[in-house]
């Protein structure tokens, strides 16, 4: 590991927009409390403590490693860490590094209907790409709910769930201005290439 030279993996993580200023990454003593409470560590080959070890060892191969995609983002590791480190946050940062490359874009392309909905409506949805399995798991009741949602909301005396037209417009402009739409296009390009190969 580089001597605090600022460009090793740990320091790149610490300087990321997602890293809180008091993130205790460099204070990790590898006690393993994170692993002991982590759902991914309990049920898969993911090992929260090892994620941090590899980052501190400047092991760049972690960015392309499938295993980072198993974190649940539940922050339970953070809630027990004695030095204020968060494997969960570190993991989010590593995934964003992966998304800068094709390897990460391929992992998120199946969630792009959420982005499409957000761009169109300013509102997230359960990703349509997975609706097939969800209709099986949730049954006919859920299908009925999808069809009758607006009537149900009316019966509950609720206001329209969609944004006002002018609000949708400024959400759209914000997404363009901040570069989100460009990001979506880049992910979709990778998705289209994957489709071609198939």
């Amino acid at each position: 590991m580089g001597e605090n030279n600022g460009d090793d993996l740990a320091h790149r993580v610490l300087s990321d927009i997602k890293a809180p200023s008091d993130l205790g990454l460099l204070r990790c003593v590898q006690c393993g409390l994170c692993t002991s409470v982590c759902p991914a560590s309990r049920h898969s080959d993911y090992d929260a403590r090892n994620i941090i070890k590899r980052v501190l060892d400047n092991d760049e191969s972690i960015i392309e490693d499938e295993i980072i995609w198993n974190c649940f983002y539940c922050y339970t590791c953070y809630s027990v860490c004695p030095v204020g480190n968060s494997v969960c946050i570190v993991n989010q940062i590593i995934r964003q590094m992966a998304i800068e490359e094709d390897v990460g874009k391929r992992k998120i392309e199946s969630f792009m209907s959420f982005a499409d909905s957000y761009i169109e409506e300013g509102l997230g949805v359960i990703p349509k790409e997975y609706h097939g399995q969800l209709h099986i798991d949730y049954g006919k009741h859920w299908t009925n709910l999808q069809e009758q949602l607006q009537d149900v909301r009316k019966d509950l005396g609720l206001d329209d769930m969609y944004l006002l037209p002018e609000a949708k417009e400024t959400v759209d402009k914000t997404l363009e201005a901040i570069g989100f739409k460009k990001r979506v296009k880049e992910v979709k390009k990778v998705r289209d290439r994957m489709d071609e190969v198939e």
């Binding site: 927009i17 964003q96 998120i108 402009k173 997404l175 570069g179």
Partner: protein
Amino acid sequence: MEKIDKFIPTENITLFRSCLVSAEYPGVEASTKYVFDKLGVEYVIDRNQSCCTGLGHYYDIFDELSTTALAARNFSYAIKNNHRQYVPMCATCYAILKTSAKILNEKDDVREEINKAFIENGLEDFQYTKGDIDPRDNITHVVDVLYYLKDKIPEHKKVDISGLKIATHHGCHYCKVHYDDTLCGYRNPEIIDKICEVMDAPALKWYDQKPRHCGGGFRQRYSNRELSLDATVDKFLSLHKEKIDVLLVMCPNCQLQFDRYEQVLEEKTGDKHYFAVLNIAQLVALYMGADPYKVLGIQTHTVNLEPILDKLNIDYDPEEDTLHVRN
């Protein structure tokens, strides 16, 4: 009551809408409004507000800069409307908004980049000034407000719910993301339990796996279904062992995991025991006499609530539910 060292609002509130509440459990919103109205809480709902991005953020499709810019846009409406107290119904909205406010206050370069993008694109009104929103005092969860006003809840009692065996499940993104702001503990969370106590319906003091997540895990539920369900099973079996009637939650994501998947989890484990899944606002509304279909919106739950209504001797007309398939 234990000392509360964050500000809990009862007025000037923007009830922050949640995409999952809106589309999956709209009765949570109706119940929150019902309970707030009874307790005299002053709030507005603003259709200029966009979704917090939370689910997309944690599917990793939203980058932090985009999420933060959208939060700045939302904050500007709350401030302009003189309702700058953001009170979300969802634990993830709560955590996302707090994180965004912290970034906007503390990371000057990010705030400047976002403001520059606003100015260059005719969105000057959305500019954020350092300190506009205090992440601790201006962003509180619905349960914080209910906890703060809990001693007033029994004044509105209409239904005896003391016969219910309740377990509580506290949202990870309420308890663990900004744990310094969490009331009543984050490693052994008890805020919902305290609200149950005033309704004479004490929750289980402890059950195995109590502080653990629901297993939803954002992308895991969809792209890693077995891993997600394996994690849910841990708590699911523990709840079966306790023979509870109701699992009380405070986040629509957890609600979805335990309610929509109950049948799947029973098949996976071969373990059967009926329990309903309710948001705390729905239970308080029920206790205050709210209509199960017109306020709680129980017809949108996968697991029928009618057995609970029977147990509490509450009258209802099952014909009001047009969503469940009857045999």
